[in-house]
């Protein structure tokens, strides 16, 4: 059985990725199982989804703790204490990272194989938007080495049609899927040790009455969300007249005003929604592609 785990952020569509891959495997005659895990997360929070592919009935459900392949759709998750996308990857497993890399790079790190490629840039080129759900599925399918291109294309059509995607958008997604599938290599997956480290079972102790209260309030401000950005809004202060519209429209209140009412953007917390770019009547704010390099 092959186990694939997708890591992304709410809104990036990793649930769809896991479904496209699951359906492609199903179309190729495998038994497949795909599922997301999410709670009450807002957009941008870490999200995980899973695909299991097997010739035999799948006697597993839920979270994949020991993936053969991990697809990191958002590289900033690599530093996220809670997402921990590399946890449990089998020795000899493959990690795909969506990062700044025009060509698909393959390298060994410790006992794992890393493939780096920017599907975001590929998506910007082909679709014009940073759509990463379908190309992530294509990358995963190619890495498995057992999914046909025909099936990943058909699965993309099935899944995206179900989501009600317009024909032209679907067409572009298919071009992107096809391109990513052709670009990503199929390295040999050599699982060196399929067994996970044994986890100790314990007996819970009673330590008196425990309340589910939270005393440490207000820690949301400690979480920096600036690294979610794909595009960065840059203000041209020569053009800006200080009309304050960007300040009013910013949904996250990360724009403050200086003495002349000109905007100061808090880049540590700006998520790059680009509403300010849209609202500025003088087009004084532009969106600049921002790149974070995962070393």
């Amino acid at each position: 059985m092959l186990k694939i785990r997708f890591h992304g952020r709410g809104g990036q569509g990793v649930k769809t990725s896991s479904r496209i891959l699951g359906r492609a495997a199903f179309l190729d005659g495998y038994i497949a199982q795909d599922s997301p895990i999410y709670g009450a997360e807002r957009r941008g929070a870490p999200v995980v989804a899973f695909t299991r592919i097997s010739r035999e009935p799948i006697l597993e459900r839920g979270y994949i703790f020991d993936p053969d392949i991990v697809i990191v759709v958002d590289e900033t998750l690599l530093d996220d204490e809670r997402a921990r996308p590399l946890d449990g990857v089998k020795s000899g497993g493959i990690v795909f990272v969506n990062t700044q890399s025009e060509q698909a790079q393959v390298e060994n790190v410790d006992d794992k194989l890393f493939i780096k490629y920017s599907i975001t840039d590929a998506a910007l080129r082909v679709i014009g938007k940073p759509i990463v759900s379908s190309p992530s599925a294509a990358a995963a399918a190619k890495i498995t080495g057992i999914i046909s291109k025909e099936s990943i294309i058909q699965a993309t059509i099935d899944e995206l049609s179900e989501l009600g995607l317009a024909e032209e958008a679907l067409e572009r997604n298919l071009r992107l899927v096809s391109e990513v599938f052709d670009t990503i290599p199929t390295p040999q997956l050599k699982i060196l040790n399929g067994e996970t480290t044994p986890r100790e079972v314990i007996q819970l102790e009673y330590k008196g009455v425990i309340y589910e209260d939270i005393v440490n309030v207000g820690n949301a401000s400690l979480r920096r969300v600036g690294n979610w950005r794909i595009f960065k809004p840059i203000v041209d202060y020569q053009k800006c007249t200080g009309c304050m519209l960007c300040f009013v429209y910013c949904p996250d209140s990360v724009i403050s005003l200086d003495a002349k009412n000109k905007p100061i953007i808090d880049y540590e917390n700006c998520k790059g929604c680009l509403i300010c770019v849209k609202e500025c009547p003088l087009h004084a704010i532009t969106a600049v592609r921002e790149v974070k390099i995962y070393a």
């Binding site: 006697l59 986890r199 209260d213």
Partner: protein, 406 residues
Amino acid sequence: MREVEMMTGNTAAAWAARLADVDYIPAFPITPQTEIIETLAKWIGEGLMKAKLVQFESEHSMLTAAGTASLAGARVFTASSSQGLLYGFEMLYSISGWRAPLVLVNVSRGVAAPLTLEPDHNDVLSARDSGFIQLHAENCQDVLDLILLAYRVSEDKRVRLPSIVNMDGFYLSFTREPVRIPSKEIVGEFLPPYTPTLPFCPSRPVVKGASVLSGSLYTYFKHNMHESMIRASEVIDEASRHFEELTGRPHKPVEGFYLDDAEYVLVMSNSFTTIGKKAVLRLREKGVPAGLVKLVMLRPFPAAQLARLLKNRRAVAVFDQNLSLGLGGIIYSEVAGALYNERKRPETLISVIGGLGGKYITMEEFEYIFNLLQHPEKIEPGKPVFLFRKDELRAVENTIKLAGVV
């Protein structure tokens, strides 16, 4: 639509309602059940189903409408989860007392507080005494099949009691796997149209759900419902045989896995059974004569069948994904009761609590259970064993520390 399709448990439930050609769907949203209603609403909007879907202001109204519409002669489908089921709870007893044979899908979710979205069975088992037949699904195919089976059995004139079909939230509700969709013809042959008894009709007045205000009448009717419920067992067997003839898929109230020569047996239900089966296979590889009993039918409780399957075993563990606070596992007590009058009952019967709020159970935890079965002297008899891991405890302690509670 392909004959086999990738679908979630929620979609499978919607497919069953569609194939059963239900007339009326009273609804109220709650995670993780909402997708069922959304799917049905979409199909009705597209003209693929003729049913009437009405969204109510609460589950209490929803279930009231469900029961009364069923008495009026409509085939009724409805669904809820957790708090939602509990909010409409009072009406469960009314629906069964009225002998309204509707089908309610419960998508299991732990009951707050603390609030969570993932499954355990305190919600559905709270309805165990309400007069609903209960069928619990292990996989998405079961969801579809058991709903069809539930309509057939509930509407049977020998039974005339409502059914709850249970599936686990997330582990089934949002998990896709291949599901076979039976043809309209097959379902038509398996499930005859619903013929209500004395339906509401303007030209012939009838009082339904009349008050009795008498202990004797009350007992008389309750005894009658109990006997009908007991007889539902045979009707389920009969319907399952017919279903298997038509589809090739057997659905037994109690299913055994590697049971023939098993000395150490785990009793469990719902979606975690899949993981339990993997554990049994691993133990078999290590030479441990392990086996598993899956409970599909929780009401009527298959006491005699359980006693037959569990007698002469060396040791049995009951895995309860529920907790009756101050007692332990609910199903453990019921299995113990079923075994008491069996002279060759297993000497050891262990109670295990696992999977509360969807807590994942690893192979190590399953192996721990089988280890206890081989060495029962390590634990106090009858005292429930809570499955928990060291790595989980570390994470829990860290979270509590972050919350700031000393």
